[in-house]
């Protein structure tokens, strides 16, 4: 593979704003008195509770067990007492079931797993079971169970580690790759062993030269190739990353395994190394707390269930009232209306953005400039689909391949008329799926 940075078609170049936190080493957040752990943190079936109110739990003890294949278990972030089983504010704005754990301050491990120190020679099936048992999901944002991706039903020849971190502001993966380089590479090697592959590729955007240098230094030891990528949003989108690294196009509606690939996030890789080598389940993650209003932007290792308010407090609070509070990055993150939401396995960033960045644009008529067409990484026609959606012609939108939309928001970002393109496509997709479900019922 050449040293030339790889790229994909389309995309946009927002100001990356990563300088706010990129050089801040990861700090471990102090133990809190209380954690409110949201039960359903993964794509797929929610896990089923195995503790009840009043139970004493140890750190890493099972709180909820997986229910089926596409589901992951949940573990206690610290030792203490289950003080409540109730609903809390979820990241989508809805109330969701959660477990409240009042810490006993001892932070005692229950040591649920035996460390597999000789992982280089361990059975792939044993390693895969460990990934499933440790409750590891795609920590880049999707929250898809990692062990499911490690069980492809089609032949796979390429393992890709996603270290692109193309969302502006976020630096959690960046710091992880710099500070826990060996863990990321070990995780990659474990993934490769499970899949029966000898090698892995790790793709990192060029704006993280220190991470690339450190990875290259150690990569040979683990048979991993490091490939730099152009700084271009959405470079970290699965399909775009696969295309940039292998030139293969994942079919619309298909999965990476359809083109012989498996993609895993770097943070998930580090979590897997932790689970296999140290026997620790997924109970913490690195999250970037950042944005112009934040007093001390930086990167922290938070336990699951840490309220956003505590995270912002650790970052010194805010200098002035932000316009938006986001979980995730500014391109795909979700806006919050409460500080009570808690850190989950896929919370890559807590971002506060000032009002200048969020001016309440009024949408103007489309002038057909075609910028959205150029920016679309999926090569669909946002402007035309937008017209279809405005006329409630969802059949037309479907014909125009709205279902291929990955909701990256590049079209909305670039539109000079500030049209709510991404929002319209989300609606169209929901309407089309709903219509399909209704048809199946009949």
């Amino acid at each position: 593979m050449s040293d030339k940075p790889r790229k994909f078609k389309g995309g946009v170049h927002p100001n990356d704003s990563k300088a706010l936190s990129a050089s801040k080493p990861v700090q471990t957040a102090p133990l809190l008195e209380k954690y409110t752990v949201i039960i359903h943190q993964n794509i797929g079936a929610p896990p089923e509770l195995v503790v009840k109110k009043g139970d004493l739990v140890k750190k890493g003890q099972l709180l909820a067990k997986a229910t089926g294949f596409v589901s992951v278990p949940l573990h206690a972030p610290t030792s203490g007492t289950v003080t409540a089983l109730e609903k809390c504010h979820g990241p989508t704005g809805l109330s969701v079931p959660a477990i409240e754990i009042t810490a006993d301050g001892k932070d005692e491990w229950g040591s649920p797993f035996e460390p597999i120190t000789d992982w280089q020679n361990a059975e792939p099936a044993v390693l895969k079971q460990r990934v499933a048992d440790a409750g590891i999901v795609g920590m880049g944002g999707a929250g898809f169970p990692s062990h499911v991706k490690l069980s492809p039903t089609k032949p796979v020849d390429t393992l890709i580690l996603n270290g692109a971190e193309c969302e502006p502001y976020l630096t959690a993966d960046h710091r992880l790759m710099v500070e826990q380089t060996e863990d990321v590479l070990r995780g990659a090697a474990i993934f490769a062993r499970i899949l029966g592959l000898k090698t892995a590729i790790i793709g990192v955007e060029e704006n993280k030269p220190d991470a690339i240098a450190k990875l290259k230094e150690l990569a040979g030891k683990y048979n991993v190739t490091v490939q730099s990528l152009h700084v271009n949003y959405p470079q970290g989108a699965e399909k775009q990353l696969i295309y940039a690294l292998t030139g293969r196009e994942v079919p619309i509606g298909g999965l990476p395994m359809d083109v012989g690939c498996v993609v895993q996030n770097v943070a998930s890789a580090a979590a897997v190394a932790e689970a296999v080598i140290n026997g620790h389940p997924s109970i913490e993650r690195i999250t970037t707390v950042t944005g112009e209003p934040v007093v001390n932007p930086g990167n922290w290792r938070f336990r699951l269930g840490t309220p956003i308010s505590k995270a912002i407090e650790l970052a010194g609070g805010v200098k002035y009232q932000p316009a938006k509070l986001l979980l995730g990055g500014p391109m795909m993150g979700t806006a919050q209306n409460s500080l009570d939401v808690t850190v989950m396995k896929n919370t890559s960033g807590i971002l506060l953005i000032p009002v200048e960045q969020v001016s309440q644009y009024t949408s103007e008529p489309c002038i057909r400039c075609g910028r959205c067409v150029e920016a679309c990484p999926m090569d669909i026609l946002p402007a035309t689909i937008s017209q279809a959606v405005e006329n409630e012609r969802f059949d037309w939108a479907e014909q125009l391949n709205v279902m291929a939309c990955i909701e990256c928001g590049s079209c909305s970002y670039i539109c000079p008329s500030h049209r709510p393109l991404n929002q319209q496509f989300k609606r169209a997709k929901a309407e089309i799926l709903a219509a399909k479900r209704n048809q199946q019922k009949k």
Binding site: K324, M331, S359, C369, M378
Partner: protein, 337 residues
């Protein structure tokens, strides 16, 4: 010991805005685009004043202000918000309209043209973004049909003598061609020392503006490239096989409205195709029609007719040039298996 207690200020959750992603925008606006196109027209506007004097400035001012005024009045009359003139699109239409008029055009032609461009060409169809035809060209063609003699008499260029605009009229290079007058030299055509509309004369000034538009990503290169290329090819072939019929390709490329048409009129975002392949087809169609009218047709010039005709085909072209989305090829292969 009294340690200063620092109060950590947290965001007020009740004041947080909740809306869909993306949460940041690229900062591009309609008015920024329009202003840049106006800047691109500046060299041509300066050339017009250089060759035709202050009369050219008067025509440009009348049309620009006229179009903005019609925009405001129309919005007022139809009880819509009247601030749309600020986006610069009406001013741009006005300047483009002026570029299509002679320096000797009377004031009422400018005002009538503004009314036709903004009223008939744009607002009647629903305003910015909804007009199927280039508004400035709608006005030009309507005036051409309504006042043929006024619209085809041209002021003789008088380079550098700003105030000395006498109403001497002469023929345009293309009209000279039709009527077998002596032809203008290529260098006069290139610099603009020929009769014609304000924007039809200096190819050099238009090329500078066109280069700016291309560099700023405001127009697709496919349209001017295929438009001018097609005209050059057809007129070149025609000249090659029958030198009596028509002059060489370079004459056709530099004379008349081809430059302004290819860089500024055919590339109008609203009325040209959005896809790259569509833009190629669009430019090709414009080139064919222009060449046919110029070489074999009754009118000396065919650029505006060709663009208007292709404007009408734009929705069709867009529909049939939709590319395959990312990941489409694989699906087809698999279902074929």
């Amino acid at each position: 010991m009294s340690e200063e207690t620092t109060v950590v200020q947290l965001p007020d959750a009740t004041k947080l805005v909740v809306s869909n992603s993306p949460h940041i925008r690229g900062g591009e606006t309609i008015s920024k685009i329009m202003v840049q196109v106006l800047i691109a027209l500046l060299p041509a506007a300066i050339a017009a004043v250089w060759f035709f004097g202050l009369a050219a400035l008067e025509v440009m001012a009348l049309c620009t202000v006229g179009c903005m005024a019609v925009e405001v009045l129309w919005k007022k009359a139809t009880k819509q918000p009247t601030d749309s003139w600020k986006d610069g699109s009406a001013a741009l239409t006005g300047l483009l309209l002026a570029m299509n008029l002679s320096a000797g055009a009377p004031w009422w032609i400018c005002i009538l043209g503004s009314l036709l461009a903004i009223g008939l060409g744009k607002q009647l169809f629903g305003g910015l973004g909804y007009n199927p035809f280039n508004p400035a060209l709608v006005a030009r063609v309507a005036l051409l049909v309504g006042f043929p003699s006024l619209m085809t008499s041209w002021v003789v260029p008088n380079p550098g003598k700003w105030l000395a605009c006498d109403a001497l009229t002469g023929a345009t290079p293309l009209a000279a061609l039709k009527n077998h007058y002596p032809l203008a030299s290529i260098s006069d055509l290139f610099y603009g020392n020929v009769g014609g509309c304000l924007g039809e004369t200096s190819a050099l000034a238009l090329l500078i503006g066109g280069a700016f538009l291309l560099a700023r990503g405001l127009i697709k290169w496919q349209i001017p490239a295929s438009f001018i290329g097609t005209v050059a090819l057809i007129s070149g072939l025609a000249h090659h096989f029958n030198p009596e019929l028509t002059p060489p390709a370079l004459y056709h490329v530099l004379a008349g409205g081809l430059m302004i048409g290819a860089f500024f009129m055919a590339t109008d975002m609203v009325t040209s195709p959005m896809t790259a392949n569509g833009a190629l087809i669009f430019g090709f169609g414009c080139g064919v029609i222009t060449s046919v009218i110029r070489i074999w047709g009754g009118y000396p010039e065919g650029v505006s007719f060709s663009i208007l005709f292709m404007n009408a085909l734009t929705p069709l072209i867009d529909r049939y040039t939709i590319g395959k989305p990312f990941g489409y090829i694989r699906i087809k292969k698999e279902t074929a298996q």
